[in-house]
Symmetry: C2
Subunit: 155 residues, 2 copies
């Protein structure tokens, strides 16, 4: 697989060195993330951040507001707002902790689960179309790269 004369690289730095690699990967990832946001169906009720919180709740189960804020890397007041919006829409349920009266426990509801899965399928549609434009070998490469990108984000 080569990127010869037919493809002008979209970044100034050729990623030969590791510093250049960081720069190229950063630009690519930021651009794709922005594109994914812009391709979202505006009819969607919930924001990207709110949907992401539902994903955390499915992955980790019932969580406190503080845990959710940490996992999404936002401040507690922001997470309070997001959780309030999710609760108002019936996507999560809040309850006080029995063992510690200060904490608010948040759990996803059946409606939240269904909504998240439906929204995901829809958001995946754009990227699936884009991936269909790659060759099978390129898709195989992306398949191997995705967990590495995940690790770069979370480690």
């Amino acid at each position: 697989m080569t990127y010869g004369h037919e493809m002008t690289p979209d970044v100034e730095t050729v990623a030969r060195t590791d510093a250049g690699l960081a720069s190229e990967l950063r630009l690519s990832v930021v651009r794709l993330a922005r594109r994914l946001r812009s391709e979202r169906d505006p009819a969607n009720v919930l924001s990207v951040g709110a949907m992401s919180v539902l994903g955390v709740l499915i992955r980790n189960g019932e969580s406190t507001v503080g845990q959710l804020a940490a996992s999404e890397r936002v401040r507690p007041p922001s997470m309070t707002r997001t959780v309030a919006a999710l609760a108002d829409a019936g996507f999560v349920v809040r309850r006080a902790s029995a063992s510690d009266g200060r904490v608010t426990l948040v759990e996803i509801s059946a409606k939240g689960r269904q909504t998240l899965y439906a929204d995901r399928r829809q958001r995946d549609a754009f990227l699936a179309r884009q991936l269909a434009g790659l060759t099978p070998a390129e898709r195989a490469l992306i398949r191997k790269a995705a967990p590495l990108i995940e690790r770069l984000a979370t480690s």
Copy 2:
């Protein structure tokens, strides 16, 4: 290279099917983009969007406000604001087109160029550290995947 028992996948969907691949890639990319934003030095004067515009100006040379808005996928009023902020800070220079009095041409200044490069080095630092935690084989894989991600974003 395997992702065996030592690594619990952070996504529910195993990317065996192409739909699953879209889902996994989307989550990974969105997470890394968010992480990159959060790792930015708060002392930076310009927003991510403004820096991205400087990058476009270096890549494409002098551009109109409309061209910049299209390339960044924002509406013209948003780009007017971004360009105004860049001009106020001396990072770009605006001038009227000689051939078409309606258009505003925008060009990067020497100061803008220097600032962009410095900001980039700094933003790259976090990702370079993360990449250093990968094996050489994994980095080689990322090196091949980056231009593909760019294509997914821009095609």
